[in-house]
Amino acid sequence: MSIAATLSDRFWRQPRLLLALLLVPPLLWLGVIYIGSLLALLLQSFFSIDEFSGLIKYQLTLKTYGELFRPSNYDIIIRTTVMAALVTLASIAIAFPIAYYAARYAKGRMKVLFYVGVMLPLWSSYLVKVYAWKLILAKEGIITWAMTGLHLQWLLDAVLALPVIGGNSLSVSYIGTFIVFVYVWMPFMILPIQASLERVPATLIEASGDLGAEPGQTFRHVVFPLALPGIVAGSIFTFSLTLGDYIIPQIIGSSRLFIGQAVYAQQGTAGNVPLAAAFAVVPVLIMCLYLWGARRMGAFDAL
């Protein structure tokens, strides 16, 4: 009997053997390279840096985590979390009508058009998208041109004069950072919402109307609760991706840091790898809290 046939017989008699053979390579890869790396990160965050020599002290300590609570570092964490929450809310507001239309009204060609229309921006190059907004938000760019053309220059100036969120031009303000975050991560919200809406039976909406509900009431009490799992699923992406981004605020935004930039700066120029690691643990913890909260709200029950 050939080797292939012998092996086949053994696979047939012992399905566990085949299963083990299938699982070993991916588990080794993910276990060693990925989980190993995460553990290395966790370990690094319990080291500290010697203030005089600047070298890493390989002794377990909580000192580095303590540094996160210094006002300047704490501000970074709050700023990033607030931004992630705002970006998520704006993404829901923009994504919902697209998903609702695609799920309820689009048919045939229109449906394909919507799908491809969401897929292309979702998958097209991240940096190109950021770059496009650099062109748009620049002082000499299309927004200034349009505002001048419409004689609304005063409005743009008034917005830029706002404290905290304003700035010299849109491309160096929080408003700019916010717009680009929404633009880049919002497509991740559309497909999960659309998927949850597709599962809502049309009869349910008709029944709600027959029982005397206004369209607004039907939306609030029937459609929205059923779409919630999709919204939560999408918000996990927008929230997590905003928390961990360091390129968008670096290219478009003020000089005040976000968590991702802090991680990048600490491990690079500052050479403080333990603090960078501790900073990187923060978004992981926030995401765990977020998922736990979503679960308590019952958002996963309907899935």
């Binding site: 699982l23 998208k129 760019g141 299309i142």
Partner: protein, 269 residues
């Protein structure tokens, strides 16, 4: 929740507006690739020219970055295809202890923020004294590409009926013949779609790459460098346009390959 009634006007406006918001900025990239303005992002462009395409064509650094990106994406895609298909086969064929953990493990590299994956890999390479090279970039890319192949393959495996595999055995085929003549033709398009998406994902990745690359520049790293410290803006404009066109092809290809299935490729990035 299909409805045959026409959509309310406000909903139509909001949906159209949302889609325009997604597409107009990308279209603007195409216009800027032809501008004659060199120093600023002036709109409207003072004039249009084709000269920057020639300039970009003759830039060795662009070609080098493109070459490295293609190499990294190709190797990562091949690795992800193997590992993703193996995981999908195991998870969809059998119920075993820790099955949920395995699927979670596959998804984790893209569920966690990119910066976490990036710094985690970097600290591991540091602790293990592995020098940064093309290899370290590939290690990172293959890790987060697995999930794309996995998602496509697992959906297809679920549709593949177990009876067909048993019939193949009954007719005397061994496990390898069954794989070659029954399973592979059935999952082929799903794998191809997954591979295209994995390639696109790797080709475009920048956040993890900045942590795992040494001195080498992939195309996204080259672009990032130009964004932070612009040297020749028109060249960046041209590269940006080419990148947009180049990523559209695999995405449309993946969509075309899986459009008849219940699970269309690319739904879960």
């Amino acid at each position: 929740m299909r409805s045959d009634a026409p959509a309310p006007l406000s909903l139509r406006l909001a949906a159209t507006g949302g889609l325009l918001f997604l597409h107009l900025p990308i279209l603007l990239i195409f216009l800027y690739a032809f501008t004659t303005e060199e120093r600023s992002y002036q709109f409207p462009p003072p004039g249009l020219t084709l000269q920057w395409f020639a300039v970009t064509w003759n830039r060795p650094d662009v070609w080098q970055a493109l070459g490295l990106s293609v190499k990294v994406a190709t190797v990562s895609t091949v690795l992800a295809l193997i590992l993703g298909t193996l995981t999908a086969a195991a998870v969809s064929r059998a119920r075993f202890f820790g099955r949920e953990t395995v699927s979670l493990l596959v998804i984790l590299p893209i569920a966690l923020p990119g910066i976490v994956t990036g710094i985690a890999l970097r600290s591991a390479f540091n602790l293990a004294d592995i020098p940064y090279s093309t290899l370290t970039i590939i290690l990172g890319h293959a890790t987060f590409c697995i999930v794309v192949v996995y998602n496509n393959a697992v959906a297809r495996f679920r549709r593949l009926s177990g009876g067909m595999i048993e019939a193949s055995y009954d007719l005397g085929a061994n496990a390898f013949q069954t794989f070659r003549h029954v399973i592979l033709p059935n999952i082929g398009t799903a794998l191809m779609a997954g591979g295209m998406l994995a390639f696109a994902l790797s080709f475009d990745e920048v956040i993890v790459t900045t942590f795992t690359a040494g001195q080498q520049q992939t195309l996204p790293i080259w672009m990032l460098e130009e964004l932070v410290r612009p040297r020749q803006r028109p060249v960046t404009n041209v590269v940006a346009m080419v990148v947009v066109l180049a990523t559209f092809l695999p995405i449309l290809g993946a969509y075309y390959l899986t459009r008849d299935g219940a699970e269309t490729a690319g739904g879960g990035k």
